[in-house]
């Protein structure tokens, strides 16, 4: 019996608005406990939620990039449950009228393109954080995260392997980053994933009992949790035992899942329309304006880089796979229009430095204009191409490109006398090659160029050598 996994996802992504979704507190990550709170997000009596327009704009953008239908009429509901990280004892969310319905996203897995369907995307508020204090045998509640806008992307059960899920999650993360609606910082919990898994024989009519693994917040834990759950459920079924429908927690340390105590024993959330938040009606014009404001998606950038800039598909993918890198590239090209040279040097050298941990892609400290200037110096023969690496290293430490070239004495000095003398010497030393060239065998030019370059040791730009050598050979 071959068991086939069927997987559906609920992805939570925090939106990068300035203020929280229902109050004016800052929506930034972190801060001293309860320093980014007010009576509204702390659930004090008498306070009321007031919806942030930007959060609505962002979920609409998220809907468009995932090919969803945007509801012209949308409203908010209360999801009632008691938990100390939820000060109002209800989460404002959306039930029957989410902002986005339907939709799909294509992902490539092992060279094959698959279409994953989106069921819905709705807007809700994040909950606070609990810190467990063992010495005092209490938990401490910090509400800074309460009210940070969150979208929940619910997929159809279209996934059949951990690899597909990871590829999809990465794609969604990148698209949300490009759309400018989520920073995708997994280490800060900006995106979390709940995974529903069931096993059944392939082509079977009914799916098996499903379990839900909650709150996975890294690609690695998503991958491992799915693989473990497939293994665990397979073992159970093959041993003739039953899979219990339950909510699970994935333990990163052990790599295993375990049953999670439920938030509300009965799971009866008693959803009902939130009377404090009026429903919204969108006009076609408003939706069109929001759609038109969506920045270019990574797939479009790849297309532009390969078609317009002549960058290889592989390099274009590397450049666009990290939004901050792609943005850096775009700014650099604006400063100096040599996309191919800039792109190649980013892929070859800057990415290497990033992978070495010398500089962060997300918190890029390099000035793209100065980076472009570095490329320009090499392209115009002011420095040698090899010198770029040394200079880049200095730039990471905060120097400008010119300062580094100066300090390391990397300027190419145009000494025409030395150049002429050297070329004369090389020509005198290689009379046969000179003869061959003059008889039309121009392919020996490369050999003569090489000899000159070696002798000059970077004291002249290749372009200058080329010009003078050609001149002398034609005499």
């Amino acid at each position: 019996m071959k068991l086939y996994p069927t997987i559906g996802l609920e992805i939570h992504a925090e939106l990068t608005t300035n203020s929280k979704v229902f109050c004016t507190c800052s929506a930034q990550f972190g801060g001293e406990p309860n320093s980014r709170c007010c009576p509204v997000c702390s659930g004090l009596p008498g306070t009321l939620p007031v919806l942030n327009a930007k959060a609505v704009e962002y979920i609409i953008k998220a809907g468009y990039i995932m090919n969803c239908d945007i509801s012209r009429f949308t409203k908010w509901d209360r999801k009632n449950y008691f938990y100390p990280d939820l000060p109002k004892a209800y989460q404002i969310s959306q039930m029957p009228r989410p902002v986005c319905l339907g939709g799909h996203v294509n992902v490539e897995v092992d060279g094959e393109t698959r279409t994953m369907r989106i069921n819905r995307i709705h807007l809700e508020e994040d909950a606070g954080k609990l810190v467990h204090d063992d010495s005092m045998r209490v938990s401490l509640a910090d509400y800074n995260r309460c009210g940070i806008p969150l979208i929940e992307i619910v997929t159809e059960p279209d996934f059949h392997s951990a690899a597909e899920v990871v590829a999809f999650f990465e794609k969604i993360r990148l698209m949300l980053q490009y759309a400018g609606v989520c920073d995708g910082r997994l280490e800060q919990g900006s995106m979390r994933c709940d995974v529903n898994i069931s096993l059944a024989e392939k082509n079977f009519d009914t799916l098996g009992t499903r379990t839900e693994v909650k709150n996975l917040n890294s690609l690695r834990s998503i991958q491992r949790a799915i693989e473990y759950e497939i293994y665990r459920q397979t073992e159970l079924i093959e041993n003739g035992e039953r899979v219990v429908q339950e909510t699970l927690h994935f333990n990163d340390a052990t790599g295993e899942t375990s049953s999670l105590r439920s938030k509300e024993d009965a799971h009866d959330y008693r959803y009902f329309p939130d009377p404090d938040i009026p429903p919204i009606i969108f006009t076609e014009e408003e939706l069109a304006a929001i759609k038109a404001d969506i920045p270019e998606m990574p797939e479009m950038r790849v297309k532009r880089y390969t078609e317009q800039y002549g960058i290889s598909a592989a390099d274009a993918k590397i450049l666009t796979d990290t939004k901050s890198i792609s943005d850096f590239f775009e700014s650099a090209v604006k400063a100096y229009n040599a996309p191919k040279a800039i792109g190649t040097f980013i892929v070859v050298e800057l990415m290497r430095r990033i992978n070495l941990g010398e500089i962060s892609a997300e918190d890029m400290t390099l000035d793209p204009a100065d980076f472009a200037h570095l490329i320009e110096l090499a392209e115009t023969g002011k420095i040698s191409k090899d010198s770029r690496k040394i200079i880049l290293r200095d730039m990471i430490d905060g120097k400008t490109a010119e300062r580094s070239a100066e300090d390391n004495n990397l300027w190419i000095k145009e000494d025409n006398e030395l150049l002429e003398k050297t070329i004369d010497e090389i020509m005198a030393a290689n009379p046969k090659a000179v003869e061959q060239y003059r008889n039309g065998e121009t392919k020996v030019f490369g050999f003569l160029m090489g000899q000159c370059g070696k002798a000059l040791k970077g004291a002249a730009a290749p372009a200058s050598i080329k010009t003078m050598l050609e001149q002398k050979l034609k005499q």
Binding site: P39, V40, S42, G43, L44, P45, G46, T47, L48, P49, V50, L51, R78, N80, F82, Y83, P84, P87, K88, A89, Y90, A141, D268, R270, Y271, F272, P275, D276, I277, P278
Partner: protein, 482 residues
């Protein structure tokens, strides 16, 4: 000074002409409260020192000629409206020591006029009730008969005005909580259109129905207070941005030709005979003034109480979930979170509040939602349709405010079903988001006040105030013996 006869305009005139200072006026009221409220029990928290300090400030403004309509006017505020630094209990053990660190929009606006807050007045616990006997503290008596209830839930506000402990008070109305106590205590209460007054800082009972409004000695005074507290508030998304208007502007205008509708169902056998007669004779007075009486019907009225209690309790169950002992309020004991919140809530809430939470969760729980909560929402839409039909041919609707006069303490407030049914005359107004005003229209054989309600079109408070005022002019108003 005889405080009972005073209105906001008479007090304004005396303050502005320096016949009396705000400080003296404040003292008159606080002395009277201290002397007589021991019996009446309308105040939960008296703010004498703050009141005198504010009165002093008011005197300075008056001296500089910078007085606004409510500068130096003493007020009583219902204890479910948050007051910065002043205890706000909702008459519940749960919030016995809760001191809000912020003001409600309404108290902020009144502070902006430099009003004088005398104190926080009693109510039914969390505004759930019609007797002001369900609270943990200050079970208020009716100023006309201390053996009777003052009505509720804004019983403290109505009793305070009726006993001349304050010339005006702020209440809240979810299903009649301003109008019914005003009726029982023989004063005037206005429930504005939903969205007219910001709910920010009003401890929520049923968010889709709650509205803050004034209780005062007459309709004109209600208009003056509404002028000060109305308006769109950026902190309440359900408050509505309406063009500025003076709600007293239509006072004195002729009501000739005005069409007043009397829906049959409000005058059924379940309404007390004396009450019915008083309201019908008020209708005759209107006819004499040139108004035209229109017969009409509201066939869904018999479902209204049920629909109201389903909606209100569902919202209340959710709104009151935040009281868990962690952030504020009574903190129970327990080794686990579950034990602790159950203990907090069990000890903090009274019986009526608990029943409504149970009912609300029943109406929302899976398997019952469609049959109860959703059906109640359908009825809400039906009631709105019936009102708009009536308003197709009428300018205002006239009904009794309550089926009876104030009843004896202990008579019915312990029977929930009886209590709920007594709200029949008022709940549809909240369901339909309409404005309504209750003003005295007679007294029964025991001398207890009878109130009539005028219900208006959305945003048409000015006409209600005008119409109520037209009746008040020739009405022989009586004052309580307190």
């Amino acid at each position: 000074m005889e405080l009972k006869q005073q209105t906001l305009s008479s007090l304004r005139a005396m303050l502005d002409s320096k016949q009396i200072s705000a400080t003296e006026l404040c003292k008159e009221y606080t002395d009277r409260i201290k002397q007589k409220d021991g019996e009446l029990q309308s105040f939960i928290t008296l703010c004498e020192d703050e009141a005198l300090a504010n009165a002093k400030k008011a005197d300075e403004l008056i001296a500089k000629g910078e007085a606004k309509p409510l500068t130096g006017i003493p007020f009583a505020v219902k204890d479910n409206i948050c007051t910065d630094g002043i205890r706000t209990t909702c008459a519940s053990k749960m919030l016995e020591s809760f001191i809000p660190p912020y003001d409600a929009c309404v108290t902020e606006k009144l502070k902006g006029e430099n009003y004088v807050l005398l104190g926080k007045v009693s109510m039914d616990e969390f505004a759930m009730g019609g007797s002001t006997q369900t609270g943990a503290f200050a079970r208020t008596k009716n100023p006309f008969d201390l053996n009777r209830v003052p009505g509720g839930s804004s019983g403290g506000s109505a009793a305070a005005v009726s006993a001349a402990f304050a010339p005006a008070a702020i209440g809240s109305d979810t299903g009649g909580s301003i109008r019914q106590p005003a009726s029982f205590c023989g004063v005037t209460g206005l429930k504005p259109t939903y969205g007219r007054v910001s709910r920010y800082g009003l401890v929520a009972f049923a968010s889709s129905l709650d509205q803050i409004g004034p209780i005062a000695n007459n309709a004109a005074d209600c208009g003056v207070v509404l002028n000060a507290i109305c308006g769109k508030d950026s902190r309440d998304a359900t408050s509505v941005n309406m063009p500025a208007e003076d709600f007293t502007a239509k006072l004195g205008n002729d009501i000739k030709g005005m069409k007043i509708a009397l829906p049959d169902e409000f005058f059924s056998d379940s309404t007390d005979e004396e009450v019915k007669n008083a309201v019908l004779s008020a209708a005759k007075e209107y006819e004499k003034l040139g108004a035209e009486l229109v017969k009409c019907s509201m066939s869904s009225l018999k479902y209204a109480v049920s629909a109201y209690y389903l909606i209100a309790s569902a919202e209340a169950a959710s709104n009151l979930s935040r009281f868990d002992g962690i952030k504020y309020g009574l903190r129970g004991e327990g080794r686990t979170f579950e034990e602790m919140i159950r203990d907090s809530r069990t000890r903090g809430f009274g019986n009526e509040v608990k029943r409504r939470i149970l009912l609300g969760n029943y109406a929302l729980s899976s398997g019952y939602y469609d049959a109860y909560y959703r059906k109640a929402l359908a009825l809400k839409q039906q009631i709105i349709r019936e009102y708009s039909q009536i308003f197709g041919t009428a300018d205002v609707i006239l009904t009794p405010t309550a089926p009876t006069v104030a009843y004896k303490i202990g008579e019915q407030e312990t029977d929930p079903v009886k209590m709920y049914l007594a709200d029949i005359c008022t709940v549809t107004v909240n369901i339909a988001s309409l404005p309504a005003i209750s003003t005295p229209c007679g007294y029964n054989k025991d001398g207890m006040p009878i109130g009539m309600s005028l219900i208006g079109k959305k945003w048409d408070e000015a006409t209600l105030i005008q119409t109520a005022d037209a009746f008040e002019k020739d009405f022989d108003r009586r004052y309580s013996n307190v």
